[in-house]
């Protein structure tokens, strides 16, 4: 649940902005210099795309309380829409493709959000699976989406904005970072706006929200639309900056669950949470594979790795739900507070 906003004095309010600014400074200026190719390709690029997807899902599930199990469908819609806009609309700049892809995902999101007007809870969660299966089926079935390529796997176009090419790991990283930063800022503003308050009102008590005049149906559809837009753009980043290929297979049910896990582990109804959760989910398999091959040697083959990753992920989810239901964010805040208190004591 969201952290209480406390009455803070002006200097503290500055501090509130200090951390993100420092972090961004570091991400823009220092990491590109010191980062290795491996850091960008294996960690930061998937991290950024998944974080953004987590931000998108958190708006829908964390803030507006509508559980979705079909996020990967919107990633796929975004990726394929951007690819096709780029392919079929002559002279449309890349940014235009990405924005239009977001709108395409938002439109599909509204369609699959319509059941939320009648269904709640588990019924809605299950109905969002319809999006997952339908979209994946359509993208596989109709080869037109993949430009009639025989394998269904297509190369993402080169990234370029206003004549500047974003090829190479560092440039793709900077591109992704910029998109993620802008949309995250958007999400921050959104959740503290009247629309954001309406989201939480609908989540916490839908009946009361309706009675006091919160436009419940509109609020739900807006949540689906914005969430799908952001997830759609995340899909573009995933395909264009990280994988550099576009294929339906990568956007399966496991991916949907992965994004759900990101916000559970990171913290529901927290924008920061999506980044925390994504970091853990991207990094932990890498650590696990290093650790496994170090401890078990050849016994730790790819099959064993995959299965133990599943187990670890499952255990993590259960542990977080039991021990830290507000996610890594609340754990982080607690540790920070304690550290500050200890420092002050000295």
């Amino acid at each position: 649940m969201p952290v209480a906003t406390l009455e803070v004095s002006a200097p503290l309010r500055m501090l509130h902005w200090l951390y993100p600014v420092l972090l961004l400074g570091c991400a823009y200026l220092i990491i590109p210099i010191i980062g290795t190719n491996y850091l960008f390709e294996a960690i930061l690029l998937p991290f950024l795309a998944l974080s953004l997807a987590g931000v998108g899902l958190n708006i829908l599930t964390g803030y507006a309380g509508q559980v979705s199990l079909g996020s990967a469908a919107f990633l796929a819609v975004g990726a394929f829409a951007a690819y096709n806009f780029n392919l079929r609309v002559e002279g449309l700049p890349l940014i235009g493709c990405i924005v239009l892809a977001g709108f395409a995902a938002a439109a599909i999101g509204i369609v699959f959000g319509l059941p939320s007007l009648r269904l709640k809870g588990f019924y809605l969660a299950v109905s969002t699976l319809a999006a997952q299966f339908f979209v994946q089926w359509a993208l596989t079935k109709f080869n037109w989406f993949s430009d009639n390529s025989a394998s269904g796997v297509i190369d993402a176009p080169l990234l370029s904005v206003a004549g500047v090419a974003f090829n190479g790991a560092v440039r793709r990283y900077l591109f992704s970072l910029t998109v993620v930063t802008l949309l995250t800022l958007f999400a921050y503003r959104l959740v503290s706006s009247q629309t954001g308050r309406n989201f939480i009102a609908v989540r916490d008590n839908e009946a009361a929200a309706r009675i006091i005049g919160v436009p419940v149906l509109k609020t739900k559809l807006v949540a689906f639309a914005i969430s799908s837009f952001i997830i759609g753009v995340a899909g573009v980043l995933w395909a264009f900056t990280y994988l550099r290929t576009v294929e339906p297979a990568g956007f399966n049910l496991d991916r949907s669950f992965q994004i759900l896990f990101i916000i559970i582990i990171g913290g529901l109804a927290s924008i920061r949470g999506a980044f925390f959760g994504a970091a853990l989910l991207v990094v932990s398999p890498l650590i696990l594979s290093r650790l496994g091959s170090f401890l078990l040697g050849d016994l730790f083959n790819s099959g064993v790795l995959e299965m133990s990753q599943r187990i670890v992920l499952g255990v993590l989810i259960i542990l977080f739900l039991i021990l830290e239901p507000d996610g890594l964010v609340s754990l982080w805040d607690r540790i920070r507070k304690r550290t500050i208190a200890r420092l002050k004591k000295r």
């Binding site: 309406n198 009361a208 005049g213």
Partner: protein, 300 residues
């Protein structure tokens, strides 16, 4: 309980001549003029409701005059909350109609309730636990918002003035109800009595013409009740808000109300001023019981 029904089973008007004027329009099937002349803000006409064969309300007529505090009392299960839920559109009555100013509804459209000038509080708290107190109060103005989410995010156009406006109003209401010191706490973290008060704040900030209060003092301590009584009275006097009050504390009801309707087993058995209700021997015997000692505005 059966004997009481027998004693009080007749038409309520017979016992309370003072209310006859208001009753007549109900009985005659009034035109708009009669309605306006009686200055009725809210009326029920022959409303019945049942849940799977169990009758919750039976042929209820009720008139609430503009600017009055009308209490609805009765034992548990008498149908008081069902009545409020019908007025606010949560339940749809099997028969009968609800009148609000010039409108007649067979079923009140919940999503338009705020626009009709009606706000309510809930018997079991219905605050938004994940929002701060001030944000809960602000959500009471959500029905007025016309800016789009994009405008709000970019902070342009109408959204700026709207945001300033709601914050100003919320601050005033929080001040009025002595809630300023908790305005940035999460609503769910407050003690029960304060949460009830935040609900009142959320309802008042909408500036309703009619305010429905469903047991606003249940579970409160005596000092909290006294405070709440003053708030309700002030809302009524200072803003001219018409109030429909459901409350178990007879002392509070006698002290606050201009008129009282008594429900029992889903039927209205009496309707009149506190004096009339209080002095009616059969009401005292059958329902008010020992609480009668406190009648006369002293409170308990």
């Amino acid at each position: 309980m059966n004997s009481m029904n027998r004693v009080l089973g007749g038409p309520a008007t017979a016992y309370f001549p003072a209310d006859v004027a208001a009753e007549r329009w109900e009985l005659d099937g009034p035109g708009e003029e009669a309605y306006a002349a009686a200055d009725i803000a809210l009326g029920l006409e022959g409303v019945s409701l049942s849940f799977g064969g169990v009758v919750a309300l039976e042929n209820i007529d009720l008139a609430v005059r503009r600017g009055e505090i009308k209490a609805i009392i009765g034992p548990n299960g008498a149908g008081k909350s069902s009545l409020i839920n019908i007025i606010s559109g949560v339940y749809r009555p099997d028969h009968g109609r609800v009148r609000m100013a010039a409108n007649r509804f067979t079923s009140v459209p919940t999503q338009k309730l705020a626009h009709l000038g009606i706000a309510r509080t809930f018997q079991n708290l219905a605050l938004f636990k994940g929002l701060s107190v001030v944000d809960n109060v602000i959500s009471g103005r959500a029905y007025k918002v016309r800016s789009t989410f994009l405008g709000q995010v970019l902070g342009v156009g109408r959204s700026r003035s709207e945001e300033a406006d709601v914050h100003g109003r919320a601050t005033k209401v929080l001040n009025f109800l002595n809630l300023t010191h908790v305005s940035h706490r999460l609503a769910g973290s407050l003690p029960y009595g304060l949460q009830k008060r935040v609900e009142l704040a959320r309802a008042l900030v909408a500036e309703p013409a009619i305010l429905l209060l469903d047991e606003p003092m249940a579970g409160m301590t005596e000092p909290e009740k006294a405070e709440m009584t003053e708030f309700v009275r002030a809302a009524n006097r200072e803003h001219g808000t018409t109030i429909v009050l459901i409350e178990h504390d007879i002392g509070v009801v006698m002290e606050l109300s201009d008129n009282i309707a008594v429900l029992d087993y889903g039927r209205k058995i009496a309707d009149g001023t506190p004096e009339e209700i209080g002095s009616d021997q059969r009401v005292i015997d059958a329902y008010l019981g020992i609480a009668a000692e406190n009648i006369g505005g002293e409170g308990i």
